[in-house]
Symmetry: C2
Subunit: 262 residues, 2 copies
DNA sequence: TGTATCGGTTCATATAATGAACCTGTGTTT
DNA sequence: AAACACAGGTTCATTATATGAACCGATACA
């Protein structure tokens, strides 16, 4: 580990819950010497990554991180940041993979990749995804604000015989997502398509969208389900990371439990 | 200069205009060895501050900066980030100093500090500042979008005999700001108050507000004006920096020219 | 085919990072 | 008020780590 990585590592101890950290606290957190840590902090202060709160004498995040984030957001759009992960997901599962983003109360399809493995495959040709009838949508409802579910209930359009069109049915589906960390949709938007979905998070810590695998019903079985879930977890972590977020611990716990059971 | 600061310095070469930089380009920019620079870049890549664009093999800003900026924005509000600078400004000028922020088409007073140096002094008791009748307001108009000036012209309320209430007068005042980098208001909101103002910028690169000194007319002279302008520049740079922005070069050039003339 | 430039790697050397011990100030306990 | 604990900050000999000349392999171009 280089001196530079050790220095940068200090930044990872800041959070919205712990916005200010003193020298001694840093020493405890890193198990490093006081002098070393002090010099590391000075390096960060020189470049503006941290600053001292003159009142508390503790260190806090500096202003220099703001323009960097601005550059990242402006120059690396979400789509390209998710693309590689979706391609990998499609390749690993042999099915169609896609990512959707939540904007307001609408879920937009961002990028979809079909796998050439099978001649029959799901095609994602929707610009916006119905919240109540897709795996992505129900996943978003499960981790999004209540207002989102309320909005979804305003328009429970029927697409197939299997579409959930009752509030009770939707609530039950949402509950299952909260328990497992995954969202299922079995023929609810198209008869022969089974969907599996996991949530995505950005730097705001709130849900930002969903990553999904759309499989053809006839080849969907327990074995495929296990593979897809495993790959979805990897993709969700990767994409969330690229968007500046991370998977909340409760969801990681759900995933562990769900995978252990199968 | 420590290895850590050298490493972090690399990040400052990224901009929205140059979002991707290769190893050799970094070497030229820093006049450092290839091996050294390569290791620095690796350190940054490990912690997610940069990532390689797999297509171009060049480096670009990484996702790790996003949560850091989020923490900064959530835990260090603009007010406290400007406070120290405003206090220093009031102290150095012996007058009342204040900072205002632009939100939508409204200019809000964020923080004001009175200097105890004189028994007569300006008092900023406004929650929102009229765009056409204050130094802060005209400064904001000069560097803000056109729509802002159009909005301001909708309501050219008269406060004193000296308030600009014509569109032509306002346009002329704005033009003077664009030429000098400073905004003046001589009794346009209160008869005996002379204001001097400089713009503030945040990480978006657009105008974020203004920093001003409100002086009592009777003691305002060329000497005071020079001092105030000089201090305003320092304050504007500091506050903009704390908000994640910087002063655009054209404005810095205006300031240099204006100060040289006096 | 030669060569110019790119990203990346190696290894002896020299420089810069390290931490035990030492200040200094502040607030608390006795 | 003396004694103590803990905070941030500093010093200097020792040691580990950063450094850069030279090298490698790939790509592009004339």
């Amino acid at each position: 580990m280089t001196s530079a990585t050790k220095t940068l590592e200090l930044l990872s101890f800041f959070s919205e819950q712990h916005p200010e950290i003193g020298l001694s606290q840093f020493c405890k957190l890193t198990s490093r010497d006081k002098a070393t840590t002090y010099r590391h902090l000075q390096s960060l202060e020189i470049v503006g990554f941290i600053e001292k709160n003159p009142l508390t004498k503790k260190y806090r995040m500096g202003p220099a991180v703001l323009p960097l984030a601005q550059i990242r957001e402006r120059t690396v759009p979400r789509k390209s940041a998710a693309k590689a992960s979706v391609e990998q997901l499609a390749d690993a599962t042999g099915e169609t993979a896609h990512v959707s983003v939540l904007s307001g109360t609408t879920l937009y399809s961002l990028v979809a990749v079909e796998s050439p493995k099978h001649s029959t495959r799901a095609i994602v040709d929707l610009k916006t995804l119905p919240l109540h009838a897709t795996a992505s949508g129900i996943c978003t409802l499960a981790y999004g604000p209540d207002i989102l579910t309320q909005t979804a209930k305003q328009n429970l359009e029927r697409f197939t015989a299997k579409t959930q069109t009752t509030e009770q049915g939707l609530d039950a589906a949402i509950q299952r997502v909260k328990e497992t960390g995954f969202s299922h949709s079995k023929g609810s938007i198209e008869e022969d398509i089974y969907g599996l979905s996991a949530p995505l998070f950005d730097q705001s810590g709130t849900i930002a969208g969903a990553v999904s695998v759309a499989s053809v019903a006839t080849r969907f079985n327990a074995d495929a389900e296990r593979t897809i879930k495993h790959q979805l977890i990897l993709a969700s972590r990767q994409i969330s990371h690229n968007w500046g977020g991370s998977i909340p611990n409760p969801i990681e716990a759900c995933w562990s439990k769900t995978l252990a059971e199968t």
